[in-house]
């Protein structure tokens, strides 16, 4: 019997497969028993009500997708009254994803969602914020450190920082999050992209631009997961284009302790369940007794030290 459990800091997950924020909700219980998952991660919420972006909010781009949903949110009150109780019907840890327009509002929400039934808080610091010219906190190490310090003070729950690929300073941002007290890093969110319908000459998204997710994102997110695992000592949760057990294993070998699955669930709603089964079979076939034995086993040799700081492709 192989063991699939992993530790994300103090939090033990029964397996390393969990959904990515914004690609999962209570609704998936229509399709399978959500207690099969390693964790439940909610869609990012904001304190107040948000309507979200104009439609079209998604489009396809060559075997991947763009989205610009705009974080519609019913606000924290609705969330605490309806969403948290729903997940108490399950034994699986609940991770709540939050965001805020300013660091203080963000921290306030962080305190507000630190309630029984919530097992960790994922802070989506990859969203535009008004204090930084509309840039995400996680684009710069300095703004990452600042917001994470405030968030750390606001809760005693495990704090997961979700990083953005829209930066040239992944390792530095990761270290800033660690120094400010993050318990884990979720790597990564979508990368800013665009598509135009050449017939109508209109952007394919109502919001002009949106985030690229799915297979195209994988090599970028994998690189970031590797960089973060090398640059910090806290657990890394890989995310980006993972759709098969091979993808998941690639992230684990790169140094991730668990993975999140996003867009793949849209294509195959049971993708995560299949991945958990396949992971068990993979480990058995490799003659391993625990998934922990493959985490961070990439044979990076001499390159290991030098490369972490290199952000540019030659």
């Amino acid at each position: 019997m192989v063991r699939l459990d992993v530790d994300i800091g103090a939090l033990r997950l029964k397996n390393p497969i969990m959904p990515a924020s914004g690609t999962f909700s209570e609704d998936l219980a229509d399709v399978f028993d959500l207690d099969l998952l390693g964790a439940h991660v909610t869609k990012t919420i904001t304190r107040g009500f948000r309507d979200g972006n104009p439609t079209p909010r998604v489009c396809e781009v060559g075997g991947s997708m763009l989205n610009s949903i705009g974080i519609p949110s019913k606000g924290v009150g609705y969330f605490l009254e309806n969403v948290v109780p729903f997940y108490q019907g399950y034994k699986t840890p609940l991770v709540v994803s939050i965001s805020g327009n300013t660091a203080d509002e963000f921290a306030q929400l962080c305190a507000e969602v630190s309630v029984p039934g919530v097992d960790a808080i994922e802070v989506n610091i990859s969203c535009p914020n008004i204090e930084e010219d509309g840039k995400a906190f996680a684009i710069r190490p300095s703004s990452t450190f600042e917001v994470m310090t405030k968030l750390r003070r606001a809760t005693s729950l495990p704090l997961w920082a979700k990083l953005t690929p829209n930066t040239g300073e992944t390792s530095e941002v990761a270290r800033a999050a660690e120094e400010a007290g993050a318990d884990a890093l979720v790597v990564a969110n979508t990368i800013l992209s665009m598509a135009i319908d050449i017939r109508t000459r209109k952007p394919k998204l109502g919001n002009l631009m949106g985030g690229l997710s799915g297979p195209s994102l994988k090599p970028i997110a994998l690189r970031m997961a590797y960089q973060c695992a090398r640059a910090t000592k806290i657990p890394v949760i890989g995310c980006g284009g993972i759709s098969t057990v091979e993808d998941a294993v690639e992230f684990l070998i790169a140094g991730a302790s668990a993975v999140q699955v996003g867009t793949a669930t849209f294509i195959n709603p049971t993708a995560m369940v299949t991945m958990i089964d396949d992971l068990r079979h993979y480990l058995e076939a490799e003659g391993l007794s625990s998934v922990r034995e493959i985490i961070g086993t990439v044979e990076d040799g001499e390159q290991r030290e030098g490369i972490v700081f290199m952000e540019a492709a030659p």
Partner: protein, 277 residues
């Protein structure tokens, strides 16, 4: 880990299944009928107005990525058949059109809120155009099962693309066909047809889908005569389950405008709440 169990997880209602293609024929130049072999248990859960989310195959140079939503055109538990009527418009439907008998197709469903027929409604009227008829077809089936009177106002570009007429007739519906060619499908004419029905047997509820023109007309006639109605709406979808919030449309509710998910709160909505586009 939270160990409090005061709520019971909801039951499974949607299934991801690989179904076998029985046939996939052109109905006329623009429309095709896809017939899948489906387990009886699945078909028994289907309701008129619901849809499936189809994983169109990657074949013949077509590489659709997201699933494509398709209304249930027919579900026949006894024959173990699930039918879709679709129009070839882009990459996904082009790929669908390449499926042949014996091929597999991954489907997710049934999804969404179905049409409702209240017990007290006896005279039902459906009005739709083109492929929209696909969505309303199973309503005729349901109406017959419930012993309701149904009038189907079928409008199309030309006689040759008038589909489903036989199907509706076969279900015992009273069919009125309107075509652009002779101008009979004009809004004014549809309104006249409706008024005749209202003055005759009466109308207890309207059903429609897709067309903005018809929506506005039915809202107007419905308001004037106090007739309730439902509309099935379309919007681009990613998950089809309610998770991603990409498929929203605006609706009038409680004096304001709210965004509702077509895949979850719909695709069937109250006709007066729908906002014309």
């Amino acid at each position: 880990m939270s160990n409090i169990h005061h709520l019971t997880p909801p039951p499974r209602t949607a299934y991801e299944l690989e179904l076998e293609v029985l046939s996939n024929e052109a109905v006329n130049g623009e429309y095709r009928l896809l017939v899948l072999n489906a387990p009886r248990g699945l078909l028994e859960r289907c309701r008129a107005g619901q849809f499936f989310h189809l994983l169109c195959p990657q074949m013949g140079g077509q590489a659709p990525y997201l699933r494509r939503p398709m209304s249930i055109y027919g579900f026949y538990p006894e024959r173990e058949e699930l039918h879709f009527l679709y129009k070839v418009t882009g990459e996904g439907t082009r790929a669908l059109a390449m499926l042949r008998r014996g091929h597999g197709l991954n489907v997710l469903g049934p999804l969404g809120k179905p049409f409702t027929i209240k017990p007290e409604w006896e005279q039902l009227v459906l009005a739709a155009r083109g492929v929209g008829l696909a969505t309303l077809a199973p309503l005729a089936l349901e109406a017959r099962r419930l012993g309701k009177e149904l009038t189907a106002i079928c409008s199309a570009r030309s006689e040759s693309v008038l589909m489903s007429v036989d199907l509706f007739r076969h279900m015992g519906a009273n069919v009125i066909t309107l075509v652009d060619e002779d101008g009979s499908s004009s809004v004014d004419n549809v309104e006249a047809v409706l008024n005749t029905l209202i003055d005759g047997p009466g109308i207890d509820a309207f059903y429609t889908c897709g067309s903005n023109r018809l929506l506005k007309l039915l809202q107007k006639v419905g308001t004037r005569h106090g007739i309730p109605g439902q509309i099935a709406l379309e919007q681009q979808m990613a998950c089809g389950l309610g998770m991603c919030h990409c498929c929203v449309r605006p609706f009038r509710k409680d004096g304001g405008i709210v965004n509702l998910r077509v895949c979850r709160e719909g695709p069937v909505f109250d006709i007066q709440e729908a906002v014309a586009w």
